[in-house]
Each structure stands twice: as structure tokens, then as C-alpha cells.
Symmetry: C2
């Protein structure tokens, strides 16, 4: 295992300390590093809280700040955070307008966020993201997995919350954005969890995993390496078959690296994916390209397509100021 770390046991805490030091203008660490919170709260605004296992950086702590999340609860690598983390985060950032949990659909996360919602002693609603079209059930998951589309839900719901939308409407909006968002990924190389010290799955030199999950979970099939165009056709095809956008739809196109994939390849995938979308009469008018929802040092990428309407365009374009996404501020 080759990693820039000191000890497998302290990766998360040292990385959180670095994040908090580098973004002290935006972020504060909660006691015992149970959560990362927005430094300046906005009274009367619904508090948005997400979280999940670590190893997907910058998700979620990198999305805490103006126009996105109020807090993120990091679990250990690929391990759900515990209910006390969400409860303490809610206590810290709820200014009285209630709390919305944004939860990726994994059994541990859903269970722990549900327990936290029940025990928090305050008004809580939840949006569960399940944008991964690859498989219907997977390791850790009943139903579809929540993957990179979660970032799109967090951005749009975050913008609406910033503008003062109340809790029930935010829940409706989040569910709606999730319904209009689909993703699928491919892995070229596996990732290594620090505590395990060895790759969490194996691929031969000529294989890739189509439909891989963000923890390296099996996808649809293991196939010989293919070209970027063939991969994009397969992924975008699966997304469009499932999403069934009407011709002429405008979409956000998110090409997301898994952690070890260089940007030169991600922009090449943008080109391939855009061509497929163009051919299907779908126009990407918003783009996000980079490693935003990662799987430690896994090589590969995912493609996410989210159908836009007037409201969601405005929400996507709205100001955001977080460690990992920043525009119009």
C-alpha cells in the first residue's frame, strides 16, 4: 500500500484537521471531529446535513458552506457515521427552521440517519439519493446506490435552502432532483482501504468493472478494457434508457473521477459523453468535471446526467462557497 499517511488509524482525523485548517474561513470542526460545520450559520434557514463513510472526498465535508450543506458527518473510511454524530451536528446547526438530512442509499447510512432523525428531538426530514442505474441491489444496499448524483441534489437543495425555502418544500425538491438524476461508473483499477492494506477487488491488466459502486462494489459486468467512446456509449445509454428524458431536454453533465484518474482523461470523457448526448437530442448546458465523489485511489470515472428545468437551472447557477465547489462568490 502506497499512501501519503502516517498510520491507517489516523487518516480520517488528520485529513479533517488539514481540511479545517485550509478552509478556516468556511468550516469548523465539531468536538471529537464528529462533524464538520459551516462557520457562519444563517438564522431561519433550514439546516442541511449529509454524511457517510469517508474515502469519497471532497464529498461531503468539501460541500459544507454557503449555498450547500450546513454540516457533514464523516464516518471512518467506507463506514457509516453513527447517529450521535448527526444528532450533535443537528444541535450545532439547526437555527430553528428544522433539519434536512441528505443520505446516500446504503443500509448503514439509512439506518443511522433514520435513528438520528427519531432521536434528534427536532423537526427532521430526509432525502435518500439512489441515482446509480448500474444495479438494483448491491453490497450494503437494498435498492439502488446513491453515488455522484448526490452532489447535484446537495447543490440544488442547498441553493433553495439559502433562499429561504421551508423544510417540506426542500424535501419535495430533493426527491424531485434525485428522480431526475442518474449515474453510472466504471473502474479501471481498484482502491485500497488504509486499514485493509490491500486492494478491495482485483482486475486483470485487460479488465474493467462496468457499473462499479463507489466502494468498489461489483457492477453490471466485468469486461475487457474498451475505448472512452465505447464506455461513454454504454454508460450514457444506460442512463438515458432509465431516465427517458424528452428530446430537447437540457441537462447537467457531471464527469466524476474516482480519485486516481487524471483530469486529461476526464475532459476526454466529457467530449465522448457530450457526443452521445448530442446524438440523442439531449443538450448539456451545465458541466462539472473533476474528482468530486471519489473512492480513495480507485481509477475510473462516473457519468451523471441530471435533467434541468427553469428552477433547477437557477439553483445550479446560484452562488456557492465551499471547499470543493465555489462560484459566484
Amino acid at each position: 500500500m502506497k499512501k501519503l499517511i502516517n498510520s491507517a488509524d489516523t487518516v480520517l482525523e488528520e485529513s479533517l484537521d488539514g481540511l479545517a485548517a485550509a478552509h478556516a474561513d468556511i468550516l469548523l470542526l465539531g468536538a471529537d471531529r464528529k462533524f464538520v460545520r459551516r462557520r457562519s450559520l444563517k438564522p431561519g434557514k433550514v439546516a442541511l446535513i449529509s454524511g457517510g463513510g469517508s474515502g469519497h472526498e471532497p464529498l461531503h465535508a468539501g460541500f459544507v458552506g454557503h449555498g450547500m450543506l450546513d454540516a457533514a458527518c464523516p464516518g471512518q473510511v467506507f463506514t457509516s457515521p453513527t447517529p450521535d454524530q448527526m444528532i450533535e451536528a443537528a444541535e450545532a446547526v439547526d437555527t430553528g427552521a428544522g433539519v434536512l438530512f441528505i443520505v446516500k442509499n446504503y443500509e448503514g447510512d439509512v439506518m443511522n440517519f433514520t435513528m438520528a432523525a427519531e432521536m434528534a428531538g427536532r423537526e427532521v426530514a430526509s432525502v435518500v439519493t439512489n441515482d446509480d442505474v448500474a444495479v438494483e441491489k448491491s453490497t450494503y444496499t437494498t435498492g439502488r446506490r446513491g453515488v455522484a448524483g448526490t452532489l447535484i441534489v446537495e447543490k440544488m437543495v442547498g441553493a433553495a435552502a439559502e433562499k429561504g425555502m421551508p423544510l417540506a418544500a426542500l424535501k419535495t425538491l430533493g426527491d424531485d432532483v434525485n428522480r431526475r438524476t442518474r449515474s453510472m461508473g466504471v473502474a479501471l483499477l481498484p482502491c485500497t482501504v488504509p486499514a485493509a492494506g490491500r486492494p478491495n477487488f482485483t482486475l486483470t491488466d485487460n479488465e474493467m468493472e462496468m457499473g462499479v459502486g463507489i466502494h468498489g462494489e461489483p457492477g453490471r459486468r466485468r469486461v475487457p478494457l474498451a475505448s472512452a467512446d465505447a464506455i461513454a456509449a454504454d454508460i450514457v445509454g444506460a442512463i438515458l434508457d432509465d431516465l427517458e428524458p424528452s428530446k430537447g431536454s437540457e441537462v447537467v453533465l457531471l464527469v466524476n473521477g474516482f480519485g486516481a484518474t487524471p483530469l486529461i482523461e476526464l475532459y476526454l470523457m466529457v467530449n465522448s459523453a457530450k457526443r452521445i448526448l448530442d446524438g440523442a437530442g439531449i443538450t448539456a448546458t451545465r458541466f462539472l468535471t473533476g474528482s468530486y465523489v471519489t473512492s480513495l485511489d480507485m481509477a475510473g470515472a462516473s457519468i451523471t446526467v441530471s435533467v434541468l428545468d427553469d428552477q433547477s437551472k437557477e439553483l445550479w447557477d446560484a452562488p456557492v462557497h465551499t471547499a470543493a465547489l465555489r462560484w459566484r462568490m
Copy 2:
């Protein structure tokens, strides 16, 4: 070789097309993709042009836009762009106030930018960056290599140009920022140039290359894997020995991934590097963390320290709107 590409021959052009499509609000591609230029020029502003071999994305094309570069000339992977690229870029973006070339110190780049300056038929000055303290000479280089500190020069000079600073003063500023900026890197895994199809150097499972260059050039020594703290102590120590900042200095701390290093590790390195700086009485008050000056799919990171004064703080903080860096806009 496992890469998201169609053919080793078309990686650069397809990636540039993806970049231009994704950032059409900021960027335009020149004819035959000889350069990437800023879409909206500012009459009377000195034009800043950089460039170099590709494979270091987002450097340089990702830094074209308001507050940074006016154009970038991408060579093939790890290969200098040709003088005609810089000449055509200068023709496209010079609005009459002259052109400043920002060039990393590699023999091919320096030679080609020098030829272009002579042949451009317009007023041109050049800043050559050489921030890498690792070695005095290297493959492709006489004198020190220009590495991630180049981004700091481009940001600060870009902000000053945006404010209307004339050419001679920008040249002086660029040289001054370069003098106050030092970097050093470490590689854990090599990178693979698409046209070569195999890693460009080898490291055993227990080795790393201290002082590696951004093309995988040899560094100071090949040593057994060490902890993040030991690596940070070595790198920051080498930087401070060379830079000799006065106690109490404020600095920018840039922790830069080489392409295959996940953000969780980079923030951990921020924590380690900051501790070393704190111990030396140097305060990092500006941070940038991410994969900005990369080496294709090399694993590892570099640390850059740049000493701030009142002027450079203002220049660093000034608005920027590019594909890869965006703040206050």
C-alpha cells in the same frame, strides 16, 4: 496501460475539445487547437500567455480566464509546444498592451518561447519559473525545474494584469513572485505517457522518489516509503533551507497532487506541512489543496511555499474565473 482514452494519438485533441465544451463561457479553442484562449478579452490589458507539454492538467489551459491567463499553448504530452503556437496565441489575445510569456524552466519550452518572442513582431517579455528546489539540473533542464509554483506566479501576475499593471512591471512582479516561491515533490507511483504505453520509471512496492520532477524525472534520492510527517518534514525543510523566509512570514501553502493521489491524502499532507511550518515560525494564511500541476497518473504530491507581502496577498485574493480556479466571481 489503463486509461480512459480512444487512441494514444488523439488524447490531447479530444481532451481539449471536452475542456472547451465544458467551459464555453470562459474559453475558446484556437484554429487547429494550437491554443486555448480567453473568450472575452479586455482591451488595454497586457496579455498573459503560458503553455508547455500536456499531461499537467489543469495547468495551463485550466487557468485561462479572468484574473489569470489570456491564452495557453498545449504541446503534446510532456512535449514543448512549438513557436507558431505562441505566435498565433499572441496574435489572438494581444490587445495592444504587449504580451507576457510565463514559461516553466525546461530547455524546449524556454527555447520555443524565446523564438516566439523574437518572431512575434510585438512587444513581449518573459518570466521563467524555476521553483523546484530538488535538483539544480535535470532531464530537459538546465538550472532548476519550473513546477507547481508556476500556478502561483500565474495567479498573482494575472491579478495584477487584470488591474492594469503595465508589461515591464508585470515582468518584475513575476520574477519577484518566482523568487519568493519554492516547491518539492515526491512520487509513490510512476506515470504512463499514452504514446509509450508503459510507466516512465519504476519504483518497487517499498520505494518512493524524493524530489521527483513533474515528468517523472529523477529527484534527490530513491528511498524507502516514509510517513506523511517524515515526507513533509523533508520537503518543507528543503524549501525553508533554500527560501530562508524570516520568522513570522506569512505564506501560501499549496499541496498539489500529481494526478492519482486522492484528496483525503492531500489534506492529510496539509496538516503535516502546516505543523512543520508552524514549528518554524512560518504561518500559512492562504491554502490551495488539490491536483493542479499534475503528471498524468503519477501518484504523489508536491508542496509549494510562497512568501506573501501585502501586495501579493491582495493579488492572491483577487477575483479569478477559470476552469480550475474560481473565486470571488
